[in-house]
Amino acid sequence: MSAEEFEEDDRPLSVAERVAAEALIVDVDGYEGPLDVLLMLSRTQKVDLRKISILALAKQYLAFVEKAKALRIELAADYLVMAAWLAFLKSRLLLPPDPEEEGPSGEELAAHLAFQLERLQAMRDAAAQLMARNRLGRDVFARGEAEEVARVRKVSYSATLLDLMHAYARIRTKDEFRPFVLDRDRVYTMEQALDRMRGLVRFQGAWTDLSAFLPEGWRVDPVMRRSATAATFAASLQLVKEGQLDIRQSDTFAPIELRRRDDRRD
């Protein structure tokens, strides 16, 4: 709310009233909620927070809310909720305790409010102490010219015999291989795979991924690759059955690996 709005008010305000009103606006904006207001009000009692009079504090707060209302300051809902609760607390504290009444006594509620205020104050003091400590980049400094640990990345290259054979075959047949494959139907038969695998398997002494056995030209196109994989897998099973091949898979969906069955090997 601005000063102009006050001037539009039908009741003329004195300068002192206007200053007070503006101070309150600023202050309400500055408060971090009703608990903050209560803590500020409690300071006027000038006693240890543990000995504070909650009854007096409730009265102060209600007066604060009344004043805000009179100045037509719109208070957020939680300020009003707190006011209602403090009015209730005030009545509890003033009236003699009713043995029939259920729930916590006025004293218990007041004690908890006092605890909340004390705890908030304690956290504020702690925060101030924390911010006053020696701080990195202000009072204490880290290494300016840090030598970071260099990562020495050693690259080790790997290639299998099958890679080598593929590469050589690729050179010997050059690009003529591809059109030849593309002329065909996009289905790779198990018979084709079996023919191919029988030839390849003899050189496969080490565990090698099934995908390494897929024929050139059948590896990129997903449809062709799927067909070739299925056929090669079926052919592998046939070769296992024939006792020429070992096959393994460490886990569901893990790569399937093949190796020549070697009777000399355990």
């Binding site: 009703p34 939680d78 003091d125 702690a126 924390l130 701080r135 880290a142 970071e148």
Partner: protein
């Protein structure tokens, strides 16, 4: 740590058990941790250092010797949680204007929230709001997370399993704290019961139980986080 009692424990141990791999003498090990810690802008854990040192070295002992050596110097070896870092002596801050980085101005809400996390950790957002008496804006938490001063802790075993916040080693480093137990006035606050998460009288019994459990967890959680 009682490193001062034995002068050459490393040598002893080596001749006894690891005669094949003789660790470098302690003086050399001290040089090694000195070089690593000096070169790094960030705190290094004993494990970081040990991983880079030759077999059989005792990084903890080397650090203990090194710390002693730098006592009273222009730079000091500081403990930060379970890590170590060289930092300039605070009394020489006046020489450093040139190096000063802009220490960001934090809002009052952020400062209070940070203090509450530090003293009450692990703490939920609801608990922070309960203590401050107002809701905590997303931005405040985000700012503290971005500064790397707080991080998410374990979820609480109360209904809804809310996330908790705890402070980080970067927080300790920034405020020159060795551990979260070195927070100013922590003992007094705890003794005064001001770190308890007391619920208002008449609150739901279930809520009370939950908070009681968590009170225990608070004490343990804190020490566990920054245990040596």
């Amino acid at each position: 740590m009682t490193d001062d009692e034995h002068q050459e424990p490393q040598a002893e141990r080596d001749t006894e058990t690891e005669s094949l791999f003789e660790a470098p003498p302690m003086g050399e090990q001290e040089r090694m941790v000195e070089a690593m810690l000096f070169a790094s802008a960030h705190p290094l854990t004993l494990r970081d250092m040990a991983a880079r040192m030759p077999h059989g070295c005792d990084a903890a002992e080397a650090v203990a010797y090194l710390r002693k050596r730098y006592e009273g110097r222009g730079v000091r070896l500081m403990r930060v949680g379970d890590a170590w870092a060289f930092r300039t002596a605070p009394d020489l801050a006046f020489l450093m204007q040139k190096e000063s980085t802009e220490v960001r101005k934090l809002s009052r809400a952020a400062i209070e929230t940070l203090a509450i996390v530090a003293y009450h950790q692990p703490v939920t957002r609801a608990e922070i709001e309960e203590i401050r008496g107002v809701s905590v804006s997303r931005g405040t938490i985000d700012q503290l997370l971005e500064l790397d001063w707080i991080r998410l802790g374990r979820r609480k075993m109360t209904p809804g399993r809310p996330v908790t916040f705890v402070v980080t080693p970067e927080f300790l480093d920034h405020f020159s704290l060795e551990t979260a137990r070195d927070l100013p006035g922590l003992k007094e606050l705890r003794a005064a019961g001001l770190l308890d998460n007391r619920l208002p009288p008449g609150a739901m019994a279930a809520g009370e139980n939950g908070s009681d459990d968590e009170d225990d967890a608070t004490g343990d959680g804190q020490s566990e986080l920054f245990e040596e």
